[in-house]
């Protein structure tokens, strides 16, 4: 029995973990850090300086943010491919959430690609890293602002609903009642993160 191909199993489990740690944790931290913008440009820029001045910052970013997101996103596309949306035929709330999880995953991934390019990679190339003024200027474009709002809402939903699956995948929520409680909790997480993220965004507009 040792010849069974368990590769999918471990990749799926890794996909489940990376969604929460580090990606989920980073999303919450990211919204929090950006909320420093409420104290004005100087405070925000000093926080950016602090993070950019951390030792091994590029290595930390690559290992804890870039690689996990890239893996979670690319493997996520493969997972989407293996499924078949059936929400119009079987109109159950969970089935809609299954479809939305995939839709928001695609949106969030595309947004993150743009966001990382615009606020990080372009800075690495030009040597001038992100600042309050730079973010504020780009958000004056209504299309970019709309993309940010969509990205924040998608990522927040994807993490909240992803937690519901995470709890099942790891055998934490087993019974029907427990899963019902978990689904309420996960909706609250999604809603909370959406408000949190949009509030952080609002200080730049």
């Amino acid at each position: 029995m040792a010849t069974k191909n368990m590769y999918t199993f471990f990749l799926r489990r890794l996909h489940s973990i990376t969604g929460v740690l580090p990606i989920g944790a980073f999303l919450a931290e990211h919204f929090f850090t950006n909320s420093f913008a409420m104290f004005g440009p100087e405070v925000y820029n000093s926080k950016v300086e602090f993070f950019m001045g951390l030792p091994y910052i590029l290595m930390i970013e690559i290992a804890l943010i870039w690689i996990p997101i890239l893996f979670h996103g690319v493997y996520g596309f493969y997972i989407i491919y293996t499924g078949d949306a059936s929400a119009f035929r079987y109109r159950f709330a969970r089935n809609w959430m299954y479809v939305l999880q995939r839709v928001t995953g695609i949106i969030a991934f595309l947004f993150i690609c743009y966001h990382v390019y615009a606020t990080r990679i372009s800075g690495l190339v030009t040597g001038q890293h992100v600042s309050f003024e730079l973010v504020q200027r780009s958000l004056q474009n209504p299309a970019i602002l709309a993309f940010y709002i969509l990205g924040i809402v998608s990522a927040s939903y994807h993490l909240g609903n992803g937690l519901f699956g995470f709890f099942i995948t790891w055998g934490i929520t087993i019974g029907e009642k427990t899963q019902k409680v978990a689904s309420v909790f996960c909706v609250l997480v999604s809603a909370g993160l959406t408000v949190f993220g949009l509030a952080a965004l609002s200080y730049f507009v």
Binding site: Y81, R89, G165, G171, E176
Partner: protein, 249 residues
């Protein structure tokens, strides 16, 4: 009431290789019809709604009391058993299609072999045959018997498979029901002797990790098998066996 009719739109197919087509039938309404008895009316008088003589519609059925699963098909787009679908409840405009996730044999008759292959893959039985009498098995706690009974109600009808977004032609997923059956046989004290083999199969290609938590399976199961609860329980077992097992290597 005499001129009330039952209108049927049926997705038909000559054989496994041919293209499907739609044919409409009109059957005079009488109280108490179910889908099987309506199909029997068509069999008795195979004339379509245009008045043309046609071949009788092929379907499968057996028990007629929602216990065997043979007559599972899509009725008004939803997967269920034809025998327990009463015309007086669902109305007189009826669309019938074969299940889409299994190969069609003819008309509403599909080949559900994939489910039985999946059951074979997960060792959904208790191997007790030996060269000598193995004696009585150990006793089983009534609570475990109760849980097992709920899982044993599965009639392999295919409703969960049809409704599952992860069970399809471009995925290797074994499907909700065969995976849930692992719990039934692992729960049994004698069956538990092959527990590791079953869990390893669930860790393999097409195994439990490919569940997408859409939970249509449990909603569509006519026998109220607690599929999602069982899969969550098996997730725990598989993680403990597979991931903690790595530490023992």
């Amino acid at each position: 009431m005499g001129d009330k009719n039952i209108r049927l739109k049926i997705k038909r197919q000559e054989n496994a290789a041919s293209e499907p087509y739609w044919e409409e039938f009109v059957v005079p309404y009488t109280p108490g019809h179910n889908i099987i008895s309506v199909l029997m009316e068509i069999q008795r008088n195979p004339v379509n709604s245009k008045g043309d003589k046609t071949t009788p519609v092929v379907w499968e059925c057996n028990c007629l009391e929602e216990i065997c699963g043979a007559c599972t098909m899509l009725i008004n787009g939803q997967v269920r058993q034809a025998c327990s679908a009463l015309v007086d409840t669902i109305g007189t405009d009826i669309t019938l299609e074969p299940m889409s996730k299994f190969p069609t044999v003819r008309d509403l008759h599909v080949d559900r072999q994939a489910m039985f292959e999946a059951l074979k893959k997960v060792t959904a039985w208790i191997p007790i045959d030996g060269t000598y009498d193995m004696g009585e098995g150990p006793r089983m706690a009534p609570k475990d018997q109760e849980e097992g009974y709920r899982l044993a109600k599965c009639m392999t009808c295919g409703c969960c498979m049809e409704a599952c977004p992860q069970f399809n032609s471009h995925s290797t997923f074994l499907g909700p029901s065969p995976i849930a059956q692992v719990r039934l046989f692992n729960l049994h004290p004698t069956g538990a002797m092959h527990r590791r083999d079953r869990l390893e199969t669930l860790m393999g290609e097409g195994g439990i990790a490919q569940c997408g938590n859409a939970q249509n399976c449990v909603r569509m199961c006519p026998k109220e098998v607690p599929i999602t609860k069982t899969l969550a329980e098996l997730n725990k077992d598989v993680n403990r066996y597979g991931i903690l097992g790595l530490l023992k290597k």
